[in-house]
Symmetry: C2
Subunit: 198 residues, 2 copies
């Protein structure tokens, strides 16, 4: 025998997920079976809840138990700020910083000629519509500091250029706790060029 | 808001699994939601099947849809061979080689003073009982070639020393496709000492 059928299927299911291969999926399944009560059953329950209740917000692309999402519905949030992020993980990261009080727009990816992702796949027209609403005063382009992320930010900035808006992007420089000796040249160069009065 | 409650719970559930941290768990959950039909629903189904049907074999410690397991029940397998492995993953690896036709004994770990795992936690007495059965002629100690694995093999060999048995262990040497220049000194030394006529 190889792995019994049900185990084999489960391992294959897990190994399709990002960051997991057949070997790590196998380890993971063994651990789940070892901790059936304390880990496996809660995991199944939580997966079912998410599969059943979590929906995509049709305004901003966020995931939540309601659509429109809690952020879009929250009247205490500043409607004049619109923060454009690549992915939901980025939205969560910004929320964790507890410094941003505006709304979001989740692109769900970046422009990539290689992967055939153009402006229409990212719904950039829908973003332009939202950005054109009278209450919006600033669009923050919070895409990643990668080539694709910056290209996408550049494209969006050009697309929104006609509108009466401040268009900003995140500051680049030395990360907190960063040691100069370990930083890449690009970051250090940017930090020197964008130096501030002490 | 942070991640909505259900998502947060699911991410926390995943990040408890070996090899996954909060960040990779987050990525994984996003991917699951993106592929709700094609990945998430099958995963839930397979998890439920395993949670419901997979049991531990009370003879050898294998996992299967039946107990005693398919291997222990298979009369075509050689009852005179007993292969001792640390973990179920090792059993599967040996089965994949399709060269072993005997039965198994899954220890479920290795002796480790650090982690407080002694002979009783590993059920070595139960192994000694099985090894003492009249049909068993050879016990193969297929623990890993790590310090803990070899210590465990040594301990078991001593424990079984009184019985009328061949006690063997896996050959050590150059792995298939191995290049000498990249091998560690220990492996190369073992391979030279255990050299065979060409």
């Amino acid at each position: 025998m190889q792995e019994p059928h049900a185990l084999e299927q489960l391992i294959r299911s897990f190994s399709r997920l990002p960051g997991l291969g057949p070997r790590s999926a196998r380890r993971l399944v063994l651990e789940l079976i070892r901790k059936r009560e304390s880990v496996m059953h809660p995991l199944i329950r939580h997966l079912q809840q998410v599969a059943e209740y979590i929906v995509t917000c049709d305004i901003c692309g966020n995931l939540d138990a309601q659509a429109p999402c809690t952020i879009c519905c929250d009247t205490r949030r500043d409607p004049s700020l619109l923060c454009v992020v690549e992915d939901l993980g980025d939205l969560w990261a910004i929320e964790r910083s507890r410094l941003y009080t505006g709304r979001y727009h989740v692109l769900g990816g970046v422009l990539s000629a290689m992967d055939g992702i153009g402006p229409s796949q990212l719904g950039i027209e829908r973003l332009a519509e939202r950005a054109g609403a009278p209450e919006v005063a600033e669009v923050i382009l919070a895409t990643n500091a990668t080539v694709d992320g910056q290209t996408t930010a550049h494209y969006i900035a050009e697309r929104l250029a006609g509108l009466e808006l401040r268009i900003t992007r995140l500051a680049q420089g030395i990360p907190m706790g960063g040691e100069l000796d370990y930083l890449d040249d690009g970051t250090l160069g940017t930090a020197i060029r964008a130096r501030l009065p002490a």
